[in-house]
Structures are given as structure tokens and as C-alpha cells.
Symmetry: C2
Subunit: 121 residues, 2 copies
DNA sequence: TAATCAGTTCGACAATACTAGAAATGTTAA
DNA sequence: TTAACATTTCTAGTATTGTCGAACTGATTA
């Protein structure tokens, strides 16, 4: 069992909640900008192949060399919301976005929901 | 000065934070499903032309006939985040989504951000 | 103008979330 | 096998957020 997502059923509220914190949004945008490739298992789990380490992220987001517990906490929130995946590579953990989450969110805003619902207005 | 948006500079973090609460997401989805038409001022302000009242929303979301202060609170949060607009119509307030916010969010997830950023990974 | 309706604001309380430092874990290098 | 490195977990403190009931405001109706 991989450490990557630990959540296969994507919950849109949890995603928004996770992205609603400025630090987490910065992390997420950084990871998106990296655009590192991922492997998708048959289970649906996503594993990063390459990508920035937690230290890289911390450095980029806080300017701090030492990894803070705060960054670790926010990465966990993003991971539990299904937005990112992480995997150990030697001493480091490498990170990536979960492309399925992006697709879900793009679809959520991109499609016009059933207009003219009769039980309102 | 209209009561509608009171915020012309859309902040993506604030939007995610607002949508990260289950009650507010339900309200937002209900308003989206209604798909009521809005007027867009030259200032950029959005005014609903028709749409459900606060009472309608409360009834749909909580099943409660009386409008609760909780629903009023959540509507305010959505309004301050720029996601919805409200306007008085007689005794009632009518509500609608802000289409500009939807467009912004669709664009945010729909576009691939600059891939291959050199200062990472 | 008084009463009523529709919604908002206020104040207090409980629950949740973020931060920081210290201790713990897992991995590699000496 | 000890030391160092990278990161997580734990604990405690503080701040923010959501909920509830009561009081308030604005608009309409009697």
C-alpha cells in the first residue's frame, strides 16, 4: 500500500478547504508549475516519478532552509484532500500534484450545471 | 453604490476558503443550478435580475422555513468572496452567482500553468 | 402608524485550524 | 553502529470560524 494518496474518493469540499489557505495554495501552485510526471496505478493511486522535495517546497514557499513542521502539516492536508501525492526517494520525499484532482476541478467549473432546475426561483 | 458585490478584485484564496464549507458549497451549487440571469454594470458589479430569495435558499439547504442567522452568515461570506451577488427586491433579497467568478475558476483549473519552470525539481 | 414579514447583526460559546518548538522516525553516510 | 540528514508527529498555545438565540433594520400591509 503506497503512502501517496490514502484517499481515492475525491471530495470537492475537502479540496476547496485545502486550497483555501494561502500557504497551501502557494504549495499547490508551485507543484502545478513544476509539472512533474506521475505514474497512475491500476488502483487509481498516483505516484510521483520525479518532483521537488519537501525541502525544495519549504525553501520556495517560506525562504527557510530547514523544513518546518508547518509546511509538513500543510502538505499532509493537501495529501488528505487528494490534491497532491508524495513518495519517498532516498532520504527525501518527492511531491507532485494529482492530475485527477485537477481534472475534477476543471470539470466542476468548466461545465454548466443543469440550468432551469424547476424547484427554485 | 449597489449592495451586490462590494469587492471587485477577485481573490482566489478567498473563493476557495468560502467554498470549503459544506453549507456554503450547497448554497453555491443551488444558485448555480438555478442559473438565474444577471446584469453586469460598467463598474463590473453584478446584479441579479431574478433568482431565489434568501428564504428559498434556506428552505432548500436546511429544510427550515424561517431564515436562520447561520444561512445569512454563509451568504455574506460567499458575497465577500465575490462568488455571489444579492439585491433587494421588495421585502426579499434575491441571489445569483457571479459569472465572472465562475469564469475565473474555470480558467484557473482549465489552463495548464507554465510547465518546466526551471527553478524547481 | 402599528403590526408583520424577510433578513441581518450582535454577543457568547464551542469547535476547528494554524503555528512553533521538541521529540521521534526513517534513511543514508562515515 | 554512530552520526547526520530529511521529514513527520506530538503537544500546547493562540487565532479563526461556525452556531445559536436575541435584538435590530428595512419594506410592506392592515
Amino acid at each position: 500500500m503506497s503512502i501517496t494518496l490514502q484517499m481515492n474518493q475525491l471530495d470537492i469540499t475537502a479540496m476547496f478547504k485545502a486550497l483555501g489557505d494561502p500557504t497551501r495554495l502557494r504549495i499547490f501552485e508551485f507543484l502545478r508549475a513544476c509539472g512533474a510526471p506521475v505514474a497512475v496505478e491500476e488502483s487509481g493511486d498516483v505516484r510521483p516519478l520525479v518532483g521537488p522535495t519537501v525541502g525544495d517546497i519549504c525553501c520556495h514557499v517560506t525562504g527557510n532552509e530547514r523544513v518546518t513542521s508547518s509546511i509538513s502539516f500543510h502538505l499532509k492536508e493537501l495529501r488528505l484532500a487528494g490534491l497532491i501525492a508524495m513518495e519517498r526517494r532516498g532520504k527525501n520525499m518527492i511531491c507532485s500534484v494529482n492530475p485527477e484532482a485537477i481534472n475534477l476541478l476543471a470539470q466542476y467549473f468548466g461545465t454548466t450545471p443543469s440550468v432551469g432546475n424547476s424547484d427554485c426561483c
